[in-house]
């Protein structure tokens, strides 16, 4: 490749690679602003940057958020009942007149939270730590590295939250006649609290995963983490219904996904029966703190070598 850059200070005729004029460079130094950065300003600027990127990728992000739950509710609450293969839910707390759609509304929202949290935090992070270490750009901003970690969690949680809001009307509306979900919200502040803490938890998990994942083993993320977390995360069945398989009901308690699904079940479809609220909130809040702390710690270690 030949260079079109010249060494003289004249503007290039083709305008392709205009040469920096000495006077312009000099003015940069002489006329430079003297900003007073504060942690709040820098944090806000970083969030503004996320918003700009999110807006630019809006269509891709929206498609990514919508397709999986849309197809899922379409097949299971429209196609299957129509062709006579409706999902049968055994007795127990979920039995009676509960439609599968009622089970799926909180479940799919929770699964969306996890998916978005991971997509928004883990994927970019793995890229930033890979060969060009673009993370150094943000690491040189005038804030402690731990603030960067908190910013990543905040931005991820916001995306996760938005993802859940997009999914909600879809899972509410798409179903065959007579298969409508029974959604009944009585406690709005509690709904907001569960959504917020669940979003933060997924973003904190995303940060931890992003800092410990080997970029070459990214496909493992789906097979080893996202898939089992979702399938065994009480997304497609309520936790109480697992009492038929007692060992599994106990084993899934290590899965943070369970508490997100059950938390949303408790506030959106209380008729289904759900895990005790104190246990849900304890894990959502405690998990955010623990995973957030661990994630921030490994993040700081990887940024500063």
């Amino acid at each position: 490749m030949t260079s079109t850059i010249r060494t003289t200070a004249a503007p290039a005729a083709d305008g392709k690679a205009a040469v920096p004029a000495a006077s312009g460079i000099a003015a940069l130094i002489a006329g430079a602003p003297t900003p007073q950065p504060t942690m709040t300003k820098t944090f806000a600027a970083m969030m503004a940057r996320e918003l700009r990127v999110l807006r630019r990728n809006a269509i891709a992000t929206f498609t990514r958020a919508v397709m999986q739950p849309l197809l899922f509710v379409f097949v299971f609450t429209y196609v299957m009942p129509k062709i006579g293969g409706g999902v049968f839910l055994g007795g127990g707390a979920a039995g009676g007149g509960t439609t599968f759609a009622t089970i799926l509304v909180p479940g799919l929202m929770a699964s969306m939270l996890l998916m978005q949290g991971i997509m928004a935090v883990t994927f970019p992070l793995v890229m930033e730590f890979s060969w060009q270490r673009t993370i150094e750009d943000r690491a040189l901003a005038p804030v402690p590295i731990s603030v960067l970690a908190i910013q990543k969690i905040t931005a991820g949680a916001a995306q996760s939250f938005i993802g859940a809001l997009i999914v909600f009307p879809i899972v509410l509306v798409v179903h065959a006649a007579g298969q409508a979900p029974h959604v009944h919200v009585t406690n709005w502040p509690l709904l907001a609290l569960i959504l917020l803490t669940a979003s933060l938890l997924t973003a904190a998990l995303g940060l931890l995963l992003g800092t410990i994942m080997d970029p070459r083993k990214m496909q493992m993320l789906f097979a080893a983490i996202l898939l089992p977390a979702t399938m065994l995360g009480c997304v497609y069945y309520p936790w109480s219904a697992l009492h038929h398989i007692r060992w599994l009901q106990i084993a899934v308690l290590v899965n943070p996904m369970v508490y997100m699904s059950e938390g949303l079940r408790a506030v959106l479809t209380p008729g289904t029966g759900h895990m005790a609220l104190w246990a849900i909130l304890l894990v959502l809040v405690g998990g955010t703190v623990v995973f957030g702390y661990l994630g921030a710690r490994t993040f700081t270690r990887r940024v500063l070598n």
Binding site: I29, T134, A141
Partner: protein
């Protein structure tokens, strides 16, 4: 803890004596712990760079230059010694240091999700400018760095030279007290490199303090007021180019390689001369460091002939950073 206490006392001393040095290090060290044991990267470096100075760290790849810059820019934690940038301890107050420096690392760390303009705008905002002010600063930087017709291009679409200019522009959004450039011209074509040199010279003329690392001899020689020659994590010598040339006694270096191994004492007559710094014999090779190169080559050829040796090749290096490096390390400089 002692580092902080010492840092404060030094800072207090500096206030009493005038402006603090732009960069100061004391026995700065970094040892990486790996599965194969400890790997020392920087083994006790002392630097003293004044405000307005263009200072170069020159050394081959793996000499410890990037690790040193990493420690000065707070991204690498030292395992020993101390460092201050703009009078601030890099370990005790990394945020204070980050506010006052501009850094261009070796990697292309541009935000690939953003355009050229946005890269500058958001960096300005990270450093505390309001959105409108940031836009104005971005426009000014784009013009000055000749990126006018690329302002809306995504960072991914820039050529190597454009990306490097944008990286330097981005490091200047907030008028840093010290500008760190880690191998700024590595991998660029010669024309683009000279173009970047012009930019750096103007910055220097405007009083910008710059610390640059390079493994290009001619780059250090062309740009820097003072140079520290670094190898194996240590400063071998520091000073102006002239001081280095004079200080090491390295003058012209004449190397003659023969067809067969050289017997002991082949160049004994040369070694006794006052104008000759030293004579090194290594298997089939004799190397003479001298201030008066005239006739030396002829003598080496003649001495070889009388010992039954034929000359395979011969080189004569004029005093330069290359001969300085050769004198200091005994190794030829490979970029």
């Amino acid at each position: 803890m002692t580092p902080t206490a010492r840092g404060e006392s030094w800072a207090a001393e500096a206030v009493a004596q005038g402006p603090p040095a732009a960069i100061r290090t004391q026995d700065l060290r970094k040892t990486y712990k790996t599965s194969r044991g400890d790997v020392p990267a920087v083994c006790g470096i002392d630097l003293d760079v004044s405000g307005g100075e263009f200072f170069g760290l020159l050394g081959p790849n793996g000499a410890g230059k990037s690790t040193t810059i990493g420690m000065l820019t707070t991204l690498v934690l030292p395992t020993g010694g101390q460092a201050w940038v703009a009078g601030i301890d890099v370990v005790a107050d990394p945020v204070g240091v980050k506010r006052r420096i501009g850094v261009v690392t070796q990697n292309n760390t541009l935000d690939m999700q953003l355009t050229v303009t946005e890269n500058l705008e958001f960096r300005s905002r990270f450093f505390g400018l309001g959105p409108r002010e940031a836009g104005r600063r971005a426009g000014q930087l784009i013009e000055a760095f000749g990126l006018g017709d690329r302002r809306k291009a995504m960072a991914t679409d820039l050529s190597g030279g454009q990306a490097r200019r944008l990286l330097i522009a981005r490091s200047l959004v907030h008028r840093p007290e010290v500008l760190f450039l880690d191998e700024p011209t590595a991998g660029l074509d010669p024309q683009t490199r000279v173009n970047l040199w012009d930019i750096l010279r103007v910055l220097h003329d405007e009083g910008q303090t710059i610390l640059l690392t390079t493994h290009y001899m001619e780059e250090a020689e062309a740009l820097c007021d003072r140079i520290a020659v670094v190898d194996h994590g240590k400063v071998l010598a520091a000073g102006t180019v002239d001081e280095l040339k004079a200080g090491t006694g390295a003058d012209t270096v004449i190397t003659v390689r023969y067809e067969s191994p050289v017997p002991e004492g082949l160049a004994a007559s040369l070694a006794g001369r006052p104008s000759v710094g030293k004579v090194e014999t290594d298997r089939d090779r004799v190397r003479v460091f001298t201030r008066e190169p005239e006739g030396v080559l002829g003598e080496l050829v003649a001495a070889g002939a009388s010992a039954g040796l034929t000359v395979r090749d011969a080189t004569q290096l004029k005093p330069s950073l290359e001969t300085v490096f050769l004198t200091l390390t005994g190794r030829e400089y490979r970029e």
